[in-house]
C-alpha cells in the first residue's frame, strides 16, 4: 500500500488557504463593486482542479514511478508482460537455482504473459458489442417514443426513466436473482417446458447486464434529437414523393446522427470501463479491464498501485483517442453529448 496521507501541517495550509480565499473574495468584491461574470465560474474551476486535474496528475505520477518514487517504465512493461514485476521481485539466486535444475520460466509460471492485453482486447470487444446492440435496440425505441402519432410515447419515456431512479447496483443484484438456476426466469422456462438454462456466471450474462444498464444512455440522446427535429421536413419529403423508408433513410437518419454519436459515446465509455457488473453476473469468472484495475488498487502489495495507475492511464488515452474519432462525426456537438 502506498503511503499517501495528509500531513498535520496540511490542515493548516488548508485553513490558511481558506482565509486567503475569503480575503481575495472580499478584495474582489470591493474592487469590482460586485460580481463579474467569470467570477461565477470559479467554483467549477476549483471543482475541476481538485477532482479532475489533480487525480489525473496523480495517476500520471504513479504510473511513471516505483513505490519509492523513482522514475521507471516498469509499470508499462508490466502491461505488456504481466509477469514482468513478478520476475523482478523474485530473488535472482533463487531463480537461478530453479533454472539450473532444468526448469524453464514457463514451468515456473513466470514466462511472458499477455493477461493485460488479452483482457483489454476482450473488454473493447464486449464494449463494442454492447454499443452495437444498444444502438440496434435503442434507435427503434427512440424513434417510436418520438413519433407524434404514437399516443403512448410519453408513457414509454417515463417507463424508461423509472428504473434509473434506482441505483444500478441494486438493479444488477436483482438481475442476479432473476437469472440464477432456481431464479424466476428458469422456473418459468421449466414450467413452459424448455427446461432450465445456464443464464448466470458467463460472458453472455455480463453482456446482458451491460446492455440493460446502458440502454437508456443510448435511447435518450437519440430521442432528444428526434423529438426536437422539425417534423415538417419529413412531411415535405413525403409530399415530394418519398416513401416512408426513403424519408427515414434520407431525412430522419442523417438529422439524428448527432444523437447517435452522443449515444455511442455515452454507452461505449462506461461499457469499456465496467467492472462491477462483470463480477456480479459473471460470478468472478469473467474479468474485464476494469476488474483488473480494481484488483490492483485493492491489493495491499506496494507495487500494485503503480501498475494499476499505468493501466488506468492507458485506458484514459484509449478513451480520449476514441472520443477524438467520434468528434469528427458530430463536430458541432449537436447531440448534446460530451464529445
Amino acid at each position: 500500500m502506498t503511503d499517501f496521507q495528509v500531513p498535520s501541517w496540511g490542515y493548516w495550509v488548508m485553513g490558511v488557504g481558506f482565509i486567503v480565499f475569503i480575503a481575495l473574495l472580499v478584495a474582489y468584491i470591493h474592487k469590482n463593486r460586485g460580481f463579474k461574470r467569470p467570477f461565477f465560474a470559479s467554483p467549477y474551476v476549483l471543482w475541476l482542479i481538485v477532482f479532475t486535474v489533480l487525480p489525473c496528475l496523480l495517476v500520471c505520477y504513479f504510473s511513471f514511478t516505483d513505490p519509492a518514487g523513482n522514475f521507471t517504465l516498469d509499470n508499462f512493461k508490466n502491461f505488456w508482460d504481466s509477469n514482468y514485476n513478478a520476475r523482478k521481485a523474485i530473488d535472482p539466486a533463487e531463480l537461478d537455482t530453479y533454472l539450473s535444475m532444468g526448469l524453464t520460466l514457463n514451468d515456473l509460471g513466470l514466462a511472458r504473459n499477455s493477461i493485460n492485453i488479452d483482457t483489454l482486447v476482450f473488454s473493447l470487444w464486449m464494449a463494442f458489442l454492447c454499443t452495437v446492440i444498444c444502438l440496434l435496440l435503442g434507435y427503434p425505441a427512440a424513434h417510436i417514443m418520438a413519433d407524434r402519432d404514437f399516443k403512448l410515447g410519453p408513457t414509454l419515456v417515463i417507463l424508461f426513466i423509472v428504473p434509473m431512479w434506482m441505483n444500478f447496483l441494486l438493479r444488477t443484484i436483482a438481475m442476479m436473482s432473476l437469472l440464477e438456476d432456481n431464479g424466476l426466469i428458469n422456473t418459468i422456462l421449466e414450467w413452459v417446458g424448455i427446461g432450465r438454462q445456464k443464464l448466470l456466471n458467463n460472458t453472455a450474462a455480463v453482456q446482458v447486464g451491460m446492455i440493460y444498464n446502458f440502454l437508456p444512455f443510448m435511447v435518450f440522446p437519440i430521442y432528444n434529437v428526434l423529438n426536437k427535429m422539425d417534423y415538417k421536413l419529413s412531411e415535405a419529403a413525403m409530399d415530394l414523393g418519398c416513401d416512408k423508408w426513403h424519408t427515414f433513410y434520407k431525412v430522419t437518419l442523417p438529422l439524428s446522427v448527432p444523437g447517435i454519436v452522443s449515444g455511442i459515446t455515452m454507452v461505449f465509455m462506461p461499457a469499456v470501463t465496467t467492472f462491477y457488473i462483470s463480477r456480479l453476473l459473471g460470478g468472478g469468472k469473467v474479468q474485464l479491464f476494469g476488474d483488473l484495475i480494481e484488483a490492483k488498487f485493492l491489493s495491499t502489495s506496494v507495487t500494485e498501485w503503480n501498475v494499476g495507475s499505468a493501466l488506468s492511464l492507458l485506458m484514459m488515452i484509449l478513451i480520449l483517442a476514441s472520443l477524438g474519432l467520434l468528434r469528427k462525426a458530430d463536430p458541432k456537438g449537436e447531440g448534446g453529448g460530451i464529445v
Binding site: A89, I90, L103, I115, N182, G283, T300, S301
Partner: protein
C-alpha cells in the same frame, strides 16, 4: 443588515455547539458490518457515559488504508489476524495497557500469544473461526473429508470458491500438502495450476454472496468461513459444514488500537468491557462465530460446546494454520498467480 446579524448569530451558535459536543468522552470504533450486537454499545454507553462512534469497513485493505490516511480518526479497530502482523511491522499499532484490561484473564490460553502478535502486546482476540466446506446433504451423498471433493468432476458447475486470494490459494496449497503460508515458487505454481484446472467446474467465485446462494440451493459445495456457514445452516437444514482432514485456516479477528488513537484509554475500557463474559456471550450469540472467551463459553453451555462447527474438536484445530503476513516481494508473486487463476479462460 438584520439578515447579516441573524446570520452571524447562527454561525456563532454553530461554533458554540462544537466544543459542547467535543467535551463528551467518545471512542471511535471501526468494525466490519454487522459484527457486533449493537445493544452491547448501548449498555457500554449507559455504564461509562462514553459515547461510541461507529464506523464500518468491508475489506481489510480498505481498513488499513483508512487508518493510515486519517490518523486519529479511529480508537478501536477489528482487523484480520494477518493484517495485525502487517500493522505491527508498519508501527501502526499502540501497545495495549493490560492493567486497564483485567478481563483479559477470560480469554482462552490457546489463543493468547498468537503467531501474529507473539508477545501479545497489541491485540485481544474478539472472535475466531475456521475455513471449511459448506455442503448440501441432498446433493452430496459421500462424507466430505478432503479438499479433493472440490476438484471432483461429479460436482461440475455446482461449486462456489472464494473470490479471495489468500483463502482460495491457501486451500489449493493445503490440498497439495503444503503450508497455507507457502512462499515457495514451485509450490505456489503447483497450487495455481490446480486452481486453473479446477476453474471449468467452478460455478462462481463469491465472497459475501456464498451463504445466501447456498441457502437457496444454488450449489452442492462451497468454500466458506465457519461463521457464514452457521448462518446458512440455520436457514437451510440440508446444509452441513466440514473442515477437511488436510487441515485448513484458523483465523482470529482481534481488537487493536491504532498508534494514532486519540482516546486510547476509552478504547481499553471498551476492550475490557467486550471481554466481560456476559457481554462476550451476548456478542457470540448474535454473531455466532467461535468465541475466544472461556468463561463466556461456560455460560453458553451445551448450545455452544455441542456445535462442532463453532466448537471444532481439538484435533481439527491441530491440523489448521494461522495466516501469516506475506512480505511485499512474495506478495507480488501471490498477486501474479492469483491474477493467472482469475484470468484463465
Amino acid at each position: 443588515m438584520k439578515k447579516m446579524v441573524s446570520l452571524a448569530l447562527m454561525m456563532a451558535l454553530c461554533l458554540a455547539l462544537i466544543p459542547a459536543h467535543a467535551a463528551q468522552e467518545v471512542v471511535n470504533v471501526y468494525n466490519w458490518y454487522d459484527y457486533m450486537d449493537e445493544e452491547v454499545f448501548e449498555i457500554f454507553e449507559q455504564e461509562t457515559g462514553i459515547h461510541v462512534n461507529k464506523m464500518y469497513f468491508t475489506t481489510n485493505e480498505d481498513m488499513m488504508l483508512q487508518v493510515e490516511v486519517s490518523p486519529g480518526a479511529y480508537d478501536l479497530v477489528f482487523p484480520s489476524d494477518y493484517c495485525v502482523e502487517r500493522m505491527i511491522s508498519k508501527n501502526m499499532l499502540a501497545e495495549i495497557n493490560f492493567d486497564n484490561v483485567p478481563n483479559f484473564v477470560h480469554i482462552q490460553d490457546s489463543l493468547k500469544n498468537p503467531d501474529y502478535d507473539p508477545e501479545n502486546k497489541y491485540s485481544v482476540p474478539f472472535m475466531w473461526g475456521t475455513v471449511g466446506i459448506l455442503y448440501n446433504t441432498k446433493l452430496v451423498d459421500e462424507p466430505v473429508e478432503s479438499w479433493g471433493i472440490l476438484w471432483d468432476e461429479k460436482y461440475a458447475d455446482s461449486i462456489f470458491m472464494m473470490d479471495s486470494m489468500r483463502d482460495t490459494l491457501g486451500v489449493a496449497l493445503k490440498y497439495l500438502g503444503y503450508s497455507m503460508n507457502s512462499r515457495d515458487l514451485i509450490e505456489l505454481k503447483a497450487a495455481t495450476d490446480k486452481l486453473i484446472a479446477q476453474k471449468p467446474i467452478v460455478k462462481a467465485y463469491y465472497v459475501d454472496e456464498t451463504k445466501d446462494k447456498m441457502v437457496a440451493g444454488e450449489a452442492a459445495l462451497a468454500l466458506i468461513y465457519s461463521g457464514d456457514a452457521l448462518y446458512a445452516m440455520e436457514k437451510n437444514e440440508d446444509l452441513d459444514y466440514a473442515v477437511p482432514m488436510e487441515g485448513s485456516n484458523v483465523w482470529i479477528d482481534p481488537m487493536v488500537i491504532p498508534a494514532t488513537a486519540k482516546n486510547k484509554e476509552n478504547a481499553e475500557k471498551l476492550i475490557d468491557f467486550l471481554c466481560r463474559p456476559e457481554i462476550a456471550q451476548k456478542n457470540c450469540e448474535y454473531i455466532w462465530y467461535s468465541s475466544p472467551n472461556a468463561d463466556a463459553i461456560e455460560l453458553m453451555g451445551e448450545d455452544y460446546t455441542e456445535n462442532k462447527t463453532i466448537n471444532p474438536d481439538p484435533d481439527v484445530i491441530q491440523r489448521c494454520e494461522f495466516f501469516h503476513d506475506i512480505p511485499d516481494d512474495k506478495l507480488t508473486l501471490y498477486n501474479n498467480f492469483w491474477g493467472q487463476v482469475k484470468n484463465a479462460k
